[in-house]
Subunit: 683 residues, 2 copies
Amino acid sequence: MDATTKRPDRKKSPVYDCWLNYRPINAPIADAYATFCHSITCVGTSPVIESALSELAYGIQSMLGITPERTQTFQGIAIGIVEQMDGIAFSETENIDEEGYIIKRHKQGFIIAGKQDRGVLYGVFAFLRLLQMKTPPEKIERAECPLNKLRMVNQWDNMDGTIERGYAGKSIFYKDNRFSEDMEIIRDYARMLASVGINGIVLNNVNVHHYETRLLTDFLPDVVKLAELFRRYGIQTFLSINYSSPIDLGGLPTADPLDAAVQNWWCEKVREIYQSIPDFGGFLVKADSEYRPGPFTYGRDHAEGANMLAKALKPFGGIVIWRCFVYNCMQDWRDLETDRANAAYDNFMPLDGKFMDNVILQIKNGPMDFQVREPVSSLFGSLKKTNQMLELQITQEYTGQQKHVCYLIPQWKEVLDFDTFAKGSGSTVKRIISGRLFPQKHCGIAAVSNIGDDANWTGHILAQANLYGYGRLAWNPDTDSRAITDEWIRLTFGDSDKVMDVINDILLSSWHTYEKYTSPLGIGWMVNPGHHYGPSVDGYEYSAWGTYHRADCHGIGVDRTVETGTGNTGQYFPPNAEMYNNRETCPEELLLFFHRVPYTYRLKSGKTLIQHIYDTHFEGVEQVKRYRDSWLELKDLIDTERFDHVLKMLEIQIKDAAEWRDVVNSYFFRKTGIPDEKGRTIY
Amino acid sequence: MDATTKRPDRKKSPVYDCWLNYRPINAPIADAYATFCHSITCVGTSPVIESALSELAYGIQSMLGITPERTQTFQGIAIGIVEQMDGIAFSETENIDEEGYIIKRHKQGFIIAGKQDRGVLYGVFAFLRLLQMKTPPEKIERAECPLNKLRMVNQWDNMDGTIERGYAGKSIFYKDNRFSEDMEIIRDYARMLASVGINGIVLNNVNVHHYETRLLTDFLPDVVKLAELFRRYGIQTFLSINYSSPIDLGGLPTADPLDAAVQNWWCEKVREIYQSIPDFGGFLVKADSEYRPGPFTYGRDHAEGANMLAKALKPFGGIVIWRCFVYNCMQDWRDLETDRANAAYDNFMPLDGKFMDNVILQIKNGPMDFQVREPVSSLFGSLKKTNQMLELQITQEYTGQQKHVCYLIPQWKEVLDFDTFAKGSGSTVKRIISGRLFPQKHCGIAAVSNIGDDANWTGHILAQANLYGYGRLAWNPDTDSRAITDEWIRLTFGDSDKVMDVINDILLSSWHTYEKYTSPLGIGWMVNPGHHYGPSVDGYEYSAWGTYHRADCHGIGVDRTVETGTGNTGQYFPPNAEMYNNRETCPEELLLFFHRVPYTYRLKSGKTLIQHIYDTHFEGVEQVKRYRDSWLELKDLIDTERFDHVLKMLEIQIKDAAEWRDVVNSYFFRKTGIPDEKGRTIY
């Protein structure tokens, strides 16, 4: 096999290729690389190793203009499984797990090896990344393992071609209630995911409708094809299921998990799936949540509901990922007692220890729903005897919908680094979800993807960084935000220091900037109902969704203290519980989440709350204008297509940020009558 | 022809038959009727007279159990054209116009005659109404003419089967972008319309999309069929058109009304239509309004735009109905100068006298958009040299969406009786639109229908009264609201005094009740954006639609005075202009429409504005509860189906009225901090 022949004959485009665009590298570093890139020896074979070989050859060809020769004897680069690398000694410091990789310098050149074929693929992508970043050969050696076992993306794609909360066009997987026939774009998505270490994908939206229910039956042959494609990139396939499938597909009168016929139906269905997809991952389930069916219908609890599926999957090594996004979405806004923030904890804590060992609870980072700012879910650390994963949202539902630049890695880092104190200091979320704090058989991290069939995948080119960064963080949550942006910018835009500085500055500050001009101090929402874009301060205030700011002319915020509020602070371990419960020690960015505060309250800055709201909203817009101004300085340093695109998006962001500013400021000015100290225009 | 054979063999249902359910009449009055109902003599023939004959026979059969004999010689009832009634003298008091009818007692029985066949049909329906209401034979004589020439319904039906602002199911005309094949229901709709004197129908939504554009071409054969059906009931067919049709259908590069090719295209198209539908009514046009195309695109004004179509229609007697609902729907909410209330006047007044005599401007009753309360459009009376019609909305977009009972006749009566003072005292809207104040060749009244394929036509059975009442008012705007409800209740539910009292009380007070618990004192809106159901006080406050209440912690309302506001009051004639302009003389129900008022302002009741808001909102809900309680007293007086239906709807209304009450009161309490004097619960 000639390694290069498997590459598609596709016109290279940096917009489409994202961080895999493999720009040409010049001398002298190119010459140094040429000394080992002329030949590849591949030890062993498997679909994944074939992908690794193909990627390596393609990257070298693209960056160095060299078509590497495939040789039987090691002359430049050798890739393969560690065990099969006869005569090559690996040291103890290179002790890796089954997904890890070693990049080792050798007298002939480089060895890229893994204990299993997935490690080989990850090693190749890492190696190519190092080349693209012009790493001197002597600094290329690595031995790395992923810290999280499961590193998943969840596609919220519907078979009609829409994507729930998608902001980058239509689905690449489905169209008109059939599977798409364009496998090229799906393969390129698989390449992107594998290049950052993603090892699992859920192919359909957690809200499973008529056609998607039939992924288990009529459309199973299509799922098989995609599973085969993803398998070649080390990515395991999962499906979201409809809990009522035994009724809808099986014609049974019930979907009661304790009903024997239901259990048999699922066992049989699972058996069929594994006949076609021997490495099928399992099911993702949104049950008894936002009108989706689930075990509650039959008076069963979530453990009974999940374990029934888990039993069916267990013989095949499959898992059930059960979402904890369960709350009363028909709350009366007049009800001041019920608190959505308490719901996941209240629902799942009583079940700790009752789930089978192939069930994982998938927990959103915060107790509400992917807001620009909220505390970490109190389930993390509290659940001690249950497998758990963190769910993040790459798609920017509440964070600018890929019209606004909002780089989310810093937000996710705060979540991952959050110390729950569940087993004393150091009980961070990242240690929990990677199975380092409690023994968990299955655990990890998942995120809702942000891609669609848009030419640049993500709607906003700078939003590609969120997908990239998610993968890098999922691999190693200790990675620094800045290190990720450095990498992403260099891989995506090249080496210009100016480009690096400007984009780094924009990305790393963008989340705080977005927060400044949107909902203040952890209160969340304030968006237009339904689509969630743009400001509507009261948009969810008198609704059934449990999302209230309770602003009146005196103050704003939800009292979630133990003494006088909903008791939500009591769900955390000390010292977090006390810290949140006390208005003076509560982190100010979460002040209005946990406390009801008068507008005249003085923040640590010395400003009143109302003045803080005014100031941050004016500042946020000014910061976006500065992004635009600094972007303009890149005119000659970036290709026109991407330069113009980002400029256009920043202009939209300026306009829409001003809308946020003016609506929020006007709302509070009208409500309080307190003028802006600086006399700026408020309507 | 046996008159009865044309009746459909359809199971009678009072829910479906509405006011045409023709309940059996008992002795002794039945015996009196039998003396003349045994035989019908029909003088002359036409499709309309055939319908009249068929309706008469059906009604008699249904009410009296008699199958009238069709006789050549006048023995009981004679129907036909006045001129053809040989040997029957009509007195001068029976001087009617071409649509009028005479019901005349005669020694053989009754003569029902019209100058033209439409009058005969109206006479028959009037006669049947009188029988159903058990009018003594000696009181049955009538000679009546409609006061308005055009009495139209506008269907906002789309070809995909949806109805814009429809609250009674799907379209009866269209399904899946084709015409419905169920002609029975359409024929029954035609019967209902004809029974209350409607003489024109626009078959499709004013927003004309892809498929509807093709009503002029691909679907013309279907339109022909419907036109034929409606023609049999004296109803002329009109179509809403897409102003860009020359581009979309004709492949022309422009739709510029001054372009010769465009003019020719329309002339040819109109000629084709009239070949198939010789009595085609003409076009309804929504142009340059809410993103619809129009002459503005080409730098032409509305007169140029409308006259181009009028020229094409003129040779065939067709008319152009041009809507005045033109305003800036992309207003910046921060712009305090622009006033949507001024827009129609500002757009159309400069064109007065420039329209051809077969163009009619169709003007919504108020300057905004069918709110529960707004002033009358200032165009009425101001336009002196232009044909004009009033547009009302039977479908309850902003008035409870046929979940709430909201009888609109009293609202429309206020509009019709409004004295514009355009030519001194007595220059009422009803005199203007009927052509009695200014000479107009074409004029009248139109309303957006409230029916769909719901089993009871209108979603809420009591909403049938709005369709009935609209027709009766369009026929004679001087009719008293109570007279209309008396009629409708008796025809629909029978003669029980108790039923009459309860339903009369509910209907006649329902508009004020709805107003009480929704938006106060003429300010309007405060609804959820998009679907417009339920309260959202700020729902349209920061939007582009020009609909603002400008509430802050001190006061609420829009200053539309000449001196300090948008000058809207200056569009009215004195003394209305002064009355509206002065806060002390402005009718209180419109206070917040024209004035910005502090919450502490004392109304004539002695209450502060804020207390008035609280009180009316509590009162409104209590009134609906009283409706429910009084409805319960009808349990044994009304069939179960209708009793249960209305009860269920009233329960919904109570719940949703309470939602309005609590959201509006909470909004203002939170904003003002002023407590309710009576200490009731506000959240």
